[in-house]
């Protein structure tokens, strides 16, 4: 699926960008994410600081969904634009948010 489909699922888009999504990963420890997330992944987290963009860029994560109603720092948004990473927010918790994509067949 494409990152644009995340909007259809009710996630709020913060930055533009389009990319392939083949996998999902849910975790707040950055090293865990880098060690285990595949390329073309949508990442569910509650971390909103700028470094999530670096982790995404290095790991090949195309979309980040910030859960539990948190908001991204302004510098995170700017950096995500540079790196062409799609940012989304949701009021759902990480479990509920991940479940929506699991239902759609992402693993």
């Amino acid at each position: 699926m494409r990152t644009s489909e995340l909007e259809n699922l009710g996630f709020k888009r913060i930055t533009k960008g389009d990319g392939e999504l083949k996998h999902g990963y849910t975790c707040d420890l950055l090293s865990e994410v880098m060690a285990n997330a595949e390329s073309d992944t949508v990442w569910f987290t509650v971390q909103s600081h700028i470094n999530v963009v670096a982790v995404a860029a290095i790991t090949g994560i195309n979309a980040i969904v910030l859960c539990n109603g948190h908001e991204f720092d302004e510098e995170t948004i700017e950096k995500a634009k540079d790196e062409k990473i799609s940012l989304f927010t949701t009021s759902l918790n990480a479990f509920e948010a991940s479940g929506k994509l699991y239902d759609k067949g992402l693993r």
Partner: protein, 318 residues
């Protein structure tokens, strides 16, 4: 020896192109067949050899004399006789172009401790011992070398050569250089991201670049969180091996062995709340690199060298 053979079988892929020429010891000590046998015994004692190739006046290989042959000579009171009377004549030899896999097979088949390497004129140009095999296994495999600064003289850090390639990095101009000149942890990864883009622009494959970038990110983050100083990232590509070195002049690691334990971290709480400090950094570097080395001591900074070459089913070029 069974274990070495077994190891070689399992990791044949990494060694498929290693030839006898690369792993042999050369030049090699030889002894003339007309010499008295006790001369061979003395040479073995002084030089800690367990066997010596025996040659004739044209320097051609005619046999090999081992500790076992010396013991036989001792038992029969033959130590003053010429070596030619006590040596073994059925020598199994290697040529310089044979592959390491064939060498392992010969060790397995013949049970000898060493094989002379000869050229087309039967002259001895080198020798391969079990020790040579182990050395090349250790240096080519993903083996972690942990050193503290006291061992620097032994690992020749001052004039350091990258072990898998033998390249003297002191003399090489890095293809990529990045100064870690910031202290804000939220900025961490700038260098790794730049290296990733650089390597992609040089035609390295996404899969290969990903693990280089992850390992570099972890090393860069360690500098920012732990060193209390600035640092530098250098990358070199030579003879099919990509080398990334991350160096700082900061606090150093007091106990490198402890730091290697997954889950062990000295990061403060505010760092952990950001999702860092899980104690996985060095473990991640180890997993993503094909070989890594850390040299550190309290107060003396940290040097991490990571080497990358292709893994099975992985093209390093795109």
């Amino acid at each position: 020896m069974e274990k070495i053979d077994d190891l070689i079988k399992r990791v044949q892929f990494y060694f498929r192109e290693v030839t006898v020429e690369e792993l042999m010891t050369s030049p090699v000590f030889t002894i003339h067949q007309a010499q008295a046998t006790f001369r061979a015994k003395e040479a073995m004692r002084l030089r800690h050899f367990s066997g010596i190739p025996v040659v004739d006046e044209r320097n051609q290989l005619v046999g090999i004399i081992s500790i076992e042959d010396i013991i036989h000579a001792l038992e029969s009171g033959n130590l003053n006789a010429p070596i030619s009377q006590n040596m073994s004549r059925d020598v199994v030899t290697l040529s310089k172009d044979e592959l390491i896999v064939d060498v392992a097979k010969k060790f397995e088949l013949h049970g000898f401790g060493r094989f002379p390497v000869i050229d087309e004129k039967k002259r001895v140009i080198g020798i391969v011992t079990q020790h040579d095999l182990i050395t090349i296994l250790l240096s080519k495999l993903s083996i972690l070398y942990v050193h503290d600064a006291r061992r620097e003289p032994f690992v020749h850090v001052d004039n350091y050569r990258s072990i898998p390639t033998g390249v003297d990095l002191k003399k090489e101009v890095p293809e990529f250089q990045f100064d870690i000149d910031y202290m804000d942890v939220s900025l961490s990864g700038i260098g790794a991201s730049k290296l990733k883009k650089f390597l992609r622009s040089k035609g390295f494959s996404p899969k290969f670049v990903k693990r280089v970038a992850i390992a570099t990110y972890e090393a860069e983050t360690n500098v920012v969180i732990h060193s209390g100083s600035t640092g530098i990232i250098n990358a070199y590509f030579k003879y099919g091996v990509l080398t990334v070195r991350v160096k700082d002049e900061g606090k150093g690691i007091e106990d490198v062995d402890m730091a290697m334990h997954e889950g062990f971290s000295t990061a403060p709480d505010y760092i952990r709340e950001m999702g860092f400090g899980a104690g996985m950094g060095l473990a991640n570097i180890k997993r993503c690199s094909d070989r890594m080395m850390i040299i550190s001591e309290r107060g003396k900074g940290v040097l991490i060298e990571m080497n990358f070459w292709g893994r099975e089913n992985e093209n390093i070029r795109a």
